[in-house]
Symmetry: C2
């Protein structure tokens, strides 16, 4: 059953649980904010639904909440940090904040982070930058969870890639992984006994299929644009592993648990060139042109990235955030 | 009929034609090199096959070969240049070279370029950086040539996106546009009276189809990953138009000819952190892991980005470059 929870109650509850777990207060506040914001924007899969697993990964020693990122190398606008297997959301928030400081100084910056843990919703770090007036590009590698194009064994990561920028009334955010459908999305179709809207992977016989069950069993989802997303996933892994001198997708896959990831945070400071007003004018020109299109389905509309999630945010801020009651009970039952 | 031409003859011939057209010698050399290299790597569509059109766009005044890029604004590692409607390949080569100089100084850099012309093969600028030891990310906007997801009118560009990095024995390059199939590719299937290997767009009735003819007529190719590539195309256009304060895809589409484009060149200098040897080790670990996979088609292999084009390069360096004799005759007939 779905229940509705006010944002402040959600964020406060998560914060208290994190403090009970041993987080420093400021870390708990930021980590709870990131989990709550993902849920507020409708990304429950990387918000509230993942919180209990996140906490159990602390108990298992996969996440070391005492660890802080450590600067390893730096050259002006380019820095390399070690996440020391700390909390993924906190490390990523730290890295993007550091990239913002460097972008102030240099106009553009890059912070590469190794040995970190799952950052949950990557879009959160794009929003962090965009809300402060920056443009950002960031990505993470993952464990191997897709075949490279043509292959029939998991070899590449779905490596989420984020682009963000300021906008008015809200930032513009693209948060996309390299797989056409996430496992979470496929499971959701499967639970409803539905086919995917488009073929989303291969079955064990190597045939492309829209049956989520077959793809979950074969572990062969397809990448966006077939060979193109496969290539992009490989490039993102190469960049992340090299710039951070951290682990590659293949190396991450040698462990049972997904940990020790490599991430890249690029930040740009457009306010060195344009006023906020000029920037918003350009954004609005592009988005209104894009939306001024008739549609194949007359009841549909053309949407730009994050348009839907900010609508969900507005609705949930007013009416409360939709959470499965079982998920909520499990969170309340945490120590 | 296909003929074979040695690289040096191809590059020299193009250079002579450019000099005859009024190019300065150094500009002619670089422009000819870029057209010839695209062709050498098998990208004839943005190499030799496009040369006559390029020359006629000079005659039409769309490309002003006397123009040089002009620096408009700069803030340390971030610069904004005006291409002054000069030669697109020369402008892009200049911008990436400038980004390389800035990356030397700052570790990462960004050169945004407005009012430029079609850069032909975007991968050329990725190779320029990678061969000199840099990692790069660059992209261009284009005229509106695809619908945004859900729409049935061209509203977004296929906005080619390039990632490149050094490798051994050759650089690693991803050069991908946001459309699943280019018009050139669809026309090639159409000429052979073949269907596309996957649905590549919508027909006029709004149905997804693998019939190239229907997509060419409707002008509704699909983007990679459907809604995902559509979103990425929009973000690339936003970044390019804002950072360069140049024209957006929609604004470019107001003219009959595709000109006055906006481009972004991001360059990173990994040698501030890693030796070339260490970098090559990481590249080779990732690529060999990726390729070590069985395949759905037992006669196929898993390939990494640019693997195929460097094979074509090696073959054509040895055996000569494949060029349609009609294309070659038209080039020879130029003034």
């Amino acid at each position: 059953m779905i229940m509705k929870i006010a944002y402040t109650i959600l964020a406060d509850t998560l914060k208290d649980k994190l403090i009970n777990k041993g987080f420093e207060k400021s870390d708990a506040l930021e980590c709870a904010r990131l989990f709550a914001q993902a849920t507020l924007d409708g990304v429950n899969s990387h918000g509230v639904n993942r919180f209990v697993l996140f906490m159990s990964n602390i108990d298992k020693g996969i996440i070391d909440i005492q660890s802080k990122p450590l600067k390893i190398k730096s050259f002006n606008a380019l820095e390399q940090w070690d996440g020391q297997l700390g909390s993924g959301p906190n490390n990523a928030s730290f890295a993007m904040t550091r990239a913002m400081t460097l972008a102030d100084q240099y106009g553009i910056s890059c912070v590469a982070l190794r040995n970190t843990n799952h950052w949950m919703r990557g879009g959160n770090y794009g929003l962090l930058a965009a809300e402060a007036g920056y443009m950002s590009i960031c990505w993470s590698n993952t464990m191997p969870n897709m075949p490279a194009w043509g292959g029939n064994m998991p070899r590449i990561g779905n490596n989420p890639l984020i682009f963000s920028m300021p906008g008015n009334p809200h930032p513009i955010l693209l948060d996309m992984s390299m797989s056409l459908f996430s496992y979470g999305k496929m499971e959701s179709y499967q639970r409803q006994d539905k086919k995917l809207p488009y073929p989303g992977g291969f079955n064990k016989a190597g045939e492309m299929t829209d049956d989520p069950q077959s793809i979950i069993e074969s572990m062969l989802p397809i990448s966006i644009g077939y060979w193109k997303g496969s290539g992009l996933s490989i490039m993102l892994d190469l960049f992340a592993a090299i710039l951070s001198e951290g682990r590659s997708t293949g190396e991450v896959g040698q462990d049972d648990e997904e940990s020790g990831l490599s991430q890249v945070f690029i930040c740009l400071s457009p306010d060195k060139f344009l006023s906020k007003g000029k920037m918003h004018d350009i954004v609005n020109e592009i988005l209104s042109y894009t939306k001024k299109s008739s549609t194949i389905d007359p009841d549909a509309e053309v949407r730009y990235p994050s348009e839907r999630s900010f609508r969900i945010r507005a609705k949930q801020l007013e009416e409360g955030i939709e959470v499965h009651d079982q998920v909520w009970q499990e969170i309340l039952a945490l120590g």
